[in-house]
């Protein structure tokens, strides 16, 4: 069992819904933070820090948002993908699990 950092970059409504849905299933707390830069890009980032079995339980919720094309960026630890497809999320998760947890980014 590993502690995994999951980051989901999306819009405000999707982040909040993800937080609510995940809390119902796993009781894990998801932090949603707003990010603004100089030219009017506003993103919401949902952050979950949880043990890998809990992340596995959260994967269907992530997939659902991916299918809706709501996810701009997804990260497991230091493995990241932009505008992912469902296949890419699966590959990303497998690669994350297969990697040495102590490797450098």
């Amino acid at each position: 069992v590993r502690l995994v950092e999951v980051m989901l970059e999306t819009d405000e409504a999707t982040s909040n819904q993800f937080r609510a849905d995940l809390s119902t299933i796993t009781r894990e707390e998801v932090l949603v933070q707003k990010r603004e830069n100089l030219n009017g890009m506003v993103d919401f980032i949902a952050i979950l820090q949880a043990a890998s079995p809990i992340v596995v339980a959260a994967l269907p919720l992530i997939m659902e948002r991916v299918r809706q094309k709501k996810v701009r960026r997804l990260r497991f630890g230091d493995f990241e993908v932009e505008n992912p497809s469902e296949d890419q999320v699966r590959i990303l998760w497998e690669r994350y699990l297969a990697a040495n947890p102590d490797r450098k980014a």
Partner: protein
């Protein structure tokens, strides 16, 4: 509850792209900027933890969540702003004849760096190669932060370094607009009025009405209003700080503040164009989407600039004619002063935008997608050129150094790695 240092780190890491380095900002070498941040926070009555990031695209960010606001500076963004100001000064000293010599290589070099930051290696290599080919000066631009910062006067430097930070702190202030649409008014003028004026001046091919409709469909008025609010807060904070701290007359303080905002706007517009290029380049039927996205981004910058100039006139009137009633007539006396500031560099901005547009178009048409066979051949050919040309390699190395990558980074290996990672997830 206060947020622990570990939690703060997690939040910063989540806000930055993978591979970015960051640390809590200690303002080493920048005591004035530290002082500005402390003063600005107390003026606005906001709190923010300040971090600095490097080895990633230069971005200044504010991240807000329960328990903490985090302002993330970019080590590289300050020097990019200074490079812009130096370029502007060089063109104004050497005359318009120098424009063709100086602007294209500078623009291409910035593009190359942004594209490297966005991890689009074939675009970055192509832009870097063109920058080298067009550069008249055999020496690569100086990548060392302290030397670059020291190369412009103190007031200009302070404004350049502080404006972006003030803008982000301004985002922590609540919005006060009753109406959230392009018909919302800022200092008495609606945003749509600025757009119409811009369309009239540009003389659009398709007619103003469809372009106005496009603007209404695609511009998020709530986001634009928040950006305008943050710009206006930054203008006043920076001008007051520069005046009080450096003993600069109000007019000059406004001039350097507007100049800082101009530099910031151009670089961000170009950075955004580079992001669009990465998304759309070489893909059939995506040219229109690229052009539309770029136009929308440029229009928002114009509206923001219009609001900023209007506010600069109001501020100047308030400061210079403080014993008089602030009527339209009083304010209008100062409008020509601010207009003159804007006009000073109009030719430079127009030339720079033309070059940026032409080079973006050229990149769009010249760089194939990575997943096509021609994409691989295109990348390999450019990489071979870099292997055989030490100036090209040195340029790439200096770009990485300027962005804050470790000195031991081999630029060619890094580019190869990025190309490989494009194939799937990274």
């Amino acid at each position: 509850l206060p947020v622990s240092p570990r939690e703060l780190e997690l939040r910063v890491r989540a806000a930055l792209p993978v591979g970015a380095e960051f640390a809590r900002e200690n303002f080493a070498g920048d005591p004035l900027v530290r002082e500005f941040c402390e003063w600005a926070k107390s003026e606005l009555e906001v709190e923010a933890e300040i971090f600095v990031a490097w080895a990633c695209p230069p971005d200044v960010l504010i991240v807000s969540a329960p328990g903490a606001n985090i302002l993330i500076r970019s080590e590289r963004f300050d020097t990019l702003l200074v490079e812009y100001i130096r370029l502007k000064n060089a063109v104004s000293h050497q005359g318009r004849a120098a424009t063709k010599l100086l602007l294209p290589p500078a623009v291409l070099r910035w593009m190359a760096e942004f594209l490297l930051g966005y991890r689009w290696p074939q675009g970055a290599l192509y832009a870097a190669r063109r920058a080298l080919d067009l550069r008249d000066d055999p020496r690569p631009p100086n990548p060392f932060r302290d030397e670059i910062l020291a190369s412009i006067d103190k007031a200009q430097r302070a404004a350049a370094q502080c404006f972006c930070l003030a803008h982000e702190l301004g985002h922590l202030m609540p919005s006060h607009h009753d109406e959230i649409s392009l018909d919302a008014r800022v200092d008495g003028l609606s945003l749509s009025r600025y757009i119409i004026r811009e369309l009239e001046e540009a003389g659009t091919t398709y007619g103003a009405e469809p372009m106005m409709k496009l603007a209404r469909d695609r511009i998020d008025a709530s986001v634009l209003l928040r950006e305008i609010d943050a710009d206006l807060i930054a203008l006043e904070l920076v001008a007051v700080f520069v005046t009080n701290k450096l003993g600069v007359p109000a007019e000059d303080a406004l001039r350097v503040s507007l100049s800082a905002c101009e530099a910031q706007s151009f670089l961000y517009a170009m950075k955004h164009a580079c992001l669009l290029l990465k998304r759309h380049s070489g893909r059939a039927r995506s040219h229109e989407e690229f052009m539309t996205g770029d136009w929308i981004s440029g229009m928002q910058i114009s509206v923001r600039a219009g609001c900023l100039l209007r506010r600069a006139g109001i501020l100047l009137s308030r400061w210079r004619a403080r014993d008089q009633e602030q009527t339209a007539a009083t304010i209008n006396r100062f409008v020509p002063v601010v207009d003159a500031m804007f006009m000073e560099s109009m030719e430079f901005r127009a030339d720079l935008q033309t070059v940026a547009f032409q080079e973006a178009e050229n990149l769009f048409c010249s760089v194939p997608t990575h997943d096509a066979d021609e994409g691989r051949a295109f990348f390999s050919s450019l990489l071979d050129q870099a292997r055989q040309n030490s100036d090209f390699r040195l340029d790439l190395f200096y770009m990485l150094v300027a962005m804050g990558f470790p000195g031991g980074t081999d630029p060619l290996k890094w580019l190869e790695y990025l190309f490989k990672m494009q194939q799937g997830v990274r």
